[in-house]
């Protein structure tokens, strides 16, 4: 891939506000209609894009990968006649994705209308008010009174000031691939092998599981790691092969 294209790709993924935004972009780029798109078409476009972005830059937020997994699953269901028959009673997941896209697109449009109002009203100024003139012993203005947030901030502020650092780490809702790699590196530094579930953590949510899974695939591809699964749905064991990952 040329350097130009690489740069373009990298800029783009950061310009998107998430997987739905990216999907809408791809649909618009290919001049498709949101309400009649074909799942396979869109899925391929999306997966290609993610793969390209991945090759350039490991830091793709977990949400993008969850969408990739969802689209892949939808596409494979279409190809499996048996499963289709079973699924007949259920709503086509594509319908709900389409509804979601339409809804998200509407919010995106509203957000840009709000952006316009913002730029008009930023240029509007109000008189400062005459409280000081009419109320002598006023020290602090009380617009919306103290809020619950202020109360919480006070608490937070205290723990910053003098409490020892909290025992438990603050849960990060989503992990980028490079963070997953760093965690795996740490997990596999003492024991050279680990169960997938132990590396990921038992209560990890879907996005985190997907992020780790993709990170492991990437590391296997590079020959830094091996992964073994005896039969479908069995435990996955990962083993370190390369001493240093960089």
């Amino acid at each position: 891939m040329s350097a130009d294209l690489q740069t373009a790709c990298r800029i783009n993924i950061q310009d998107f506000e998430g997987p739905l935004d990216l999907l809408l972009f791809l649909i618009r780029r290919d001049e498709l209609d949101v309400t009649t798109i074909h799942v396979a078409e869109v899925a391929d476009q999306y997966l290609d894009y993610i793969r390209e972005a991945e090759e350039l830059n490991l830091d793709i937020a977990g949400e993008y990968l969850v969408m990739a997994a969802t689209l892949t699953r939808m596409k494979s269901r279409l190809l499996l006649p048996v499963e289709r028959a079973i699924m007949e009673d259920y709503e086509d997941p594509m319908d709900s994705l389409m509804r979601h896209l339409v809804l998200y697109r509407a919010f995106k449009e509203v957000a840009s209308e709000l952006r316009e109002s913002e730029s008009i009203w930023r240029d509007v100024f109000t008189p400062p008010g005459e409280r000081e003139r009419y109320q002598e012993s006023v020290t602090e203005v009380d617009q919306d009174q103290t809020s619950l947030l202020d109360l919480l901030l006070a608490l937070e502020n205290m723990s910053e000031k003098n409490a020892p650092p909290p025992e438990h780490r603050i849960r990060k809702p989503l992990l980028s691939l490079s963070e997953c790699v760093a965690i795996l590196d740490r997990t596999l530094s003492t024991d050279r092998q680990s169960k997938f579930i132990d590396a990921v953590g038992e209560n990890a949510d879907q996005a985190v599981v997907v992020s780790f899974f993709v990170a492991i695939l990437e590391l296997v591809k590079r020959g830094w790691l091996t992964a073994e699964q005896r039969y479908p749905f069995a435990e996955i064991t990962i083993k370190r092969k390369e001493e240093r990952w960089e």
């Binding site: 809804l103 008009i120 008010g129 949510d205």
Partner: protein, 196 residues
Amino acid sequence: MLDQLARQVEALLVASESPVTLERICELTGCGTESAEQAVQRIEMELASGGHAVVVARLAGGFRIVTDPDLGYIVAQLFEGKRHSRLSRASLETLAVIAYRQPATRAQIEAVRGVNSDSAMRTLLERDMIKIAGRQETPGRPLLYETTSRFLEYFGLSDLEHLPRMDEMESLLKLSADDIERMASELSGDESDQIL
């Protein structure tokens, strides 16, 4: 030439720190609703015919005197360095979802946007655009968020009914209500159905 009632109303609108409702005008001047409304109209006309630099704006359920947006480039110089930056796209999207669906939980917002919205929510709380509105009475009792009157003022809205495309958004939300709930409950993680 303004009459005495209009002068009183104008003084209130200039001196107040926040929009003044019609009820408050009536209460403080002792006039009726209709007279108060007409007084506001007379003020508007007099300001326009004198070519003044201010107009009456209908904001957050009340009236307020504000400078004409045309003159923003002059007045902004007074506040250089003290103005807030514009809201990011993520914040605007998050705010839009909360505005039409309030009160909303974080999981519902993230379900609609399809993306983690922590930092956007934090910005909006800090900038007083949204506030905590209690808890939802469902498992996990998540916090609920709603928009503030500062939100209305910031975007020049007289009330929530005047949000852009209210009808369209309401019917879209109704159509997707089940989807949102389903995705939100997946996100809030009380059922962590693991894929793979």
